[in-house]
Point group: C2
Chain length 224, copies 2
DNA sequence: CCAAAAGTGTTATGTTTACACCCATGT
DNA sequence: ACATGGGTGTAAACATAACACTTTTGG
């Protein structure tokens, strides 16, 4: 390979992360406000350069840590963005990821040396974002819907267990439609997605609810 | 972005194509024999550098044309390969694709300035390949199985139409299992994947078979 | 009229949907 | 005792799987 051929030079890569949470039944995504040009003062997904000694997920996790202080996020790859003129500086390949976090358990850093604000936005009320981030976010929302019906991605939200009514609300929020709670329970329990912990949890004035956890190895099929 | 940071430099991209065909009921993949080091004289998938002024599929089509003379192939993206030490020369990101061609209609160029041979190999009898191509091919075979049950990827093999028994054999070959031909017909016809042309085709000594074509816009679901 | 392959229909089985009642708890 | 939400069962509708006979053609 002729490394000095200009067609091989000036190629870079970066990562773009759509980090979702469920806040009182509303699906929200984490946006940060840029302090630098281009797109100064605009909201953007959590994104940044990938170094040439990193795996793409390593770069994604590092950028998330740098710009929000979030750690230990499980990321799912969404797609490659290969439009040629995404950056005026050099050819920039983009790799898009999804993460899911529990809003109760995280503490977002509001300011960093590259960001002046950070906040959660209802995915149905997204402003104009920097770069091509609106398009990337829409793809990620579709992928999120796919993943909750075909994988155990919610496991990261409930590492120690959950009740069926609890995740029922999450499914309804993300899929944006009602699901009959009796049939939902049956599907979840027969899908192989979850297992019983034989524990229960008490909420005031209500019947105790059974606790389940997501399985690690789940069947390769549509689960819900 | 500090372009002189060595962590941003020396990044390249290339494409790796698994081009499949069905030869008398056997699923085969196109391999080429390398004339240059590394992996001189070993068989490999059809691969090569991506230039910084190309979309990833443009690069894939150009490489296929250069190394095999095949043109007008529809390609489907499979995955990113981001292992760090894939190339000793520089960080090399890989983009893997699937193509499907009709072996009756193509004429493979056996020799080019970078290849000394080209041939179709039964996917169950693949030799040791150059680089990480065995792993890439296995991922592509899985994706091919997914695509024939969830998309109209076979449309490229039958641009002018096909009979149900014809594609029935193709499905059995790719999925590597028997499918009841009566239920197969019903599923195909009710899935929304194909439409009737009201034409028939005659084979010697057999009842005429109806001709169908694949639809362009197909439902987003498991079809077979 | 026979061989070869195309085309069709029915029954049984399994899965999904729709829907209504009982249960355990805190106040 | 009652309000709140958790838990369960059943019948109808639908989809899938198993399976056998009839049709058209060329020789």
């Amino acid at each position: 390979m002729e490394l000095n051929n200009p067609l091989y030079k000036n190629m870079g890569a970066h990562v773009i992360n759509s980090i979702f949470t469920i806040d009182k039944g509303i699906v929200k995504v984490l946006l940060i406000k840029r302090t630098n040009n281009p797109y100064k003062n605009m909201w953007a997904l959590v994104s940044g350069a990938m170094y040439n000694n990193e795996l793409i997920t390593t770069a994604a996790k590092r950028e998330i840590k740098e710009k929000t202080n979030l750690e230990n996020i499980n990321l799912e790859f969404v797609n490659v963005i290969d439009d040629i003129d995404r950056s005026p500086l050099l050819r920039m390949l983009g790799f898009s990821f999804i993460g899911l976090v529990d809003i109760e358990k995280v503490n977002i850093m509001k300011e960093t040396n590259k960001t002046s604000d950070a906040d959660w936005f209802d995915i149905n009320k997204i402003p104009n974002l920097a770069y091509d981030h609106n398009k990337i976010l829409n793809n990620s929302i579709d992928k999120l819907k796919y993943l909750i019906t075909n994988s155990n991605i919610l496991k990261t939200l409930y590492p120690t267990g959950f009740t069926i009514p609890e995740i029922h609300k999450v499914y309804e929020s993300i899929l944006n439609k009602e699901l009959d709670r009796r049939n939902f329970r049956k599907k979840i329990l027969t899908s192989g997605l979850v297992k019983d912990t034989n524990q229960t949890i008490n909420f005031k004035g209500k019947k105790p609810a059974k606790l389940y956890i997501f399985n690690d190895n789940i069947p390769d099929k549509k689960l819900i």
